[in-house]
């Protein structure tokens, strides 16, 4: 039932400015993939090309291996939800949700039943007769989602549908989108600039920077094994230690560390959560001095210094550290990634 989507070497420019540069993306049938990136990175353009609203300059879009480039947007088995709810103001909720079915000349009784089902699915039962102007922001976006799902699309495209909602509602809506996607089982591409949203929602995340897919992997990989320094920076890594690797030893400002890395110059990246406090001297341990601590409720952010090199770590709030205290830091080899300098 569900359809897989392949995007192959997709390229698109606006005038002379390239926006999408040879993007490849393979979305398995029934999966929820997040297209993550800062504004202007080309993620919405990619989505619109998949929807058929824009034509690519080069490359291909395939559903189940079949190219759909020659198919007009209204004939593709696709439905899209935009950043704004875009409910048609001259229609009731029921007319909005039933719009796609009316375009397909579905029988009236069937439309009425399907609209009721969809409103149940997005937890707005009985809203059929409401005028659109009376809905709240979250309700509007839920109606918009119901309107997209009612046509039973094989591919669902979501273009930052939650970005205009306030924080609490956004988390609630995230759960709703996830639940609905699981229930319907539709292949979904979700565009967002919010890394937390991407990581918590998606089966796989594609990080787009400057029109290219920088890394396409399961959410955890972005924290544990970033593909490049740009990816690590986007995900908020704070420890960057330039050095040189040779024969399984990495020499940097912290001294010599044992870890797996290709020989040559590189930058060691380790997340603050992965840096440990060690009791006794062992492999990959470095003496340091606490410079400052910041209490964050569920953790304490600590800035330590090895000579003049700052190392950021995050520790449990039960650990009491004061500025000036001497500590021993351990950098577990499995948490260290050495990336080529850019």
């Amino acid at each position: 039932m569900a359809t897989s989507v392949q995007v192959l070497r997709l390229t698109r420019s606006y005038g002379s400015a390239p926006v999408v540069r040879s993007v490849d993306l393979d979305v398995p049938a029934g999966a929820l993939v997040a297209l993550l990136g800062p504004s202007g990175c080309g993620k919405t353009t990619t989505l619109k090309i998949v929807a058929g609203l824009l034509a690519p300059d080069a490359g291909d879009v395939r559903f189940d291996g079949q190219s759909v480039l020659g198919v007009a947007a209204e004939r593709r088995p696709v439905a899209m939800v935009f950043q704004k709810p875009l409910l048609f103001p001259h229609m009731t909720v029921a007319d909005n949700v039933g719009f796609g079915l009316r375009m397909r000349r579905t029988d009236r009784a069937v439309i009425r039943r399907r609209v009721a089902e969809m409103l149940d699915l997005v937890r707005l039962p009985g809203f059929e007769a409401r005028p659109v102007a009376e809905l709240s922001g979250g309700q509007e976006q839920r109606v918009s989602l119901a309107r997209a799902l009612v046509v039973e699309p094989q591919v669902l495209l979501l273009d930052e549908p939650l970005s205009q909602l306030d924080a609490g509602l956004r988390v609630e809506m995230r759960e709703l989108v996830r639940r609905v996607q699981r229930e319907v089982g539709v292949t979904t591409i979700f565009v967002t600039h919010d890394q937390e949203e991407a990581v918590s929602l998606a089966d796989r995340v594609a990080l787009m920077l400057d029109g290219r897919v920088e890394q396409y992997a399961a959410p955890a990989a972005f924290y544990e094994r970033p593909a490049s320094l740009r990816v690590a920076r986007f995900f908020g890594s704070r420890n960057y230690l330039p050095g040189v690797a040779s024969g399984g030893v990495f020499r940097c400002a912290l001294g010599s560390l044992t870890l797996r890395a290709a020989d040559g110059p590189g930058v060691l990246v380790i997340r603050p959560e992965a840096v440990r406090l060690a009791g006794a001297a062992a492999a990959n341990c470095v003496p340091a001095v606490v410079v400052a601590t910041r209490y964050l409720g569920t953790s304490v952010a600590v800035e330590a210094a090895v000579d003049a090199t700052p190392v950021h770590l995050s520790v449990d709030p039960s650990v009491r550290l004061a500025a000036g205290e001497r500590v021993l830091l351990r950098l577990p080899p499995e948490a260290c990634t050495v990336l080529p300098p850019d």
Partner: protein, 275 residues
């Protein structure tokens, strides 16, 4: 603030109504006056002559009413259709030469209609359009299309094209998108713009006279003829006949547009306000 508003409602509104309606009072009096001399406040006798003139086939008032209606409605429809597409192009797209097109569209408002018509009248005669209703409709399009296009381009500039993309990805073809989504959204503005075209055409005198050549008699032409012949009864009755239909139409449009629920109604009012 609310005190000021209340004062405006209590004093301003009646003042406005009096100011608008007072000019019609003499018109009403003259239309039924048998003898009406200077010191008298009201006419000495009343007469039904003015009203009888309206239906007398000799006076051609009914023909004039028919001509005026057919011409003004045709102008409103044609100018509305042209303005709809021209307004969309100007309001929603940024293209090379857009400013030039905008200027050319406004030119007929800037250049006096009389000057333009004197020039093109020759062609109307050559192609047999002079003295026909079709010719009059065509020449009335000259001053109406700019207004309709202007209104429609501001209506389209406020229309989010994302609505059309949304409709397409839900399975609506190009025609369905226009009919089901875009047209309902711009309809209030279009109604206002077409009403403008109707009003301009309805009260047009010079252009009708030049191209109609006296054989297409509209209400304004008849009115001028009676004013010239000093038949005050007839002029007053015709004046009322000229004023009433547009006023009814204006009132009807206002009621229909303000009765629309939600943002559509607000947009219509915005469209009116921007003109």
């Amino acid at each position: 603030m609310s005190a000021v508003r209340r004062l405006l409602c209590l004093v301003g509104l009646p003042l406005l109504l009096v100011g608008l309606l007072t000019p019609f009072l003499p018109l009403l009096l003259w239309s039924v006056a048998g003898g009406y001399r200077f010191p008298a406040l009201l006419p000495a006798q009343t007469t039904g002559r003015g009203l009888r003139l309206l239906t007398d086939p000799q006076t051609k008032v009914l023909t004039g009413l028919e001509n005026s209606t057919v011409i003004a409605v045709s102008v409103a429809v044609v100018a509305g259709l042209i303005g709809l597409s021209a307004g969309r192009a100007l309001g929603m797209h940024r293209f090379r030469g857009r400013r030039l097109v905008q200027f050319l569209l406004l030119a007929p408002i800037i250049v006096p209609g009389l000057a333009v018509t004197l020039g093109i009248q020759v062609f109307f005669i050559r192609y047999g359009l002079a003295g026909t209703r079709l010719g009059v409709v065509l020449v009335h399009l000259v001053p109406t299309i700019p207004y309709v296009t202007l209104v429609m381009s501001s209506v389209y500039a406020n229309f989010d094209p994302a609505y059309e993309e949304q409709a397409r990805v839900l399975g609506a073809g190009p025609v369905q998108v226009q009919v089901r989504v875009t047209l309902p959204a711009v309809l209030p503005g279009l109604a206002v713009a077409a009403l403008f075209a109707f009003l301009i055409s309805w009260s047009e005198y010079i252009l009708t006279l030049l191209v109609g050549g006296g054989s297409v008699q509209t209400l304004p032409l008849l009115l001028f003829a009676y004013v010239g012949s000093a038949d005050v009864n007839a002029a007053a009755v015709l004046g009322l006949a000229l004023v009433l239909p547009p006023m009814l139409l204006l009132g009807l449009t206002a009621v229909l547009l303000s009765g629309r629920p939600g943002p559509a109604g607000e947009r219509a009012l915005a469209g009116l306000g921007r003109v």
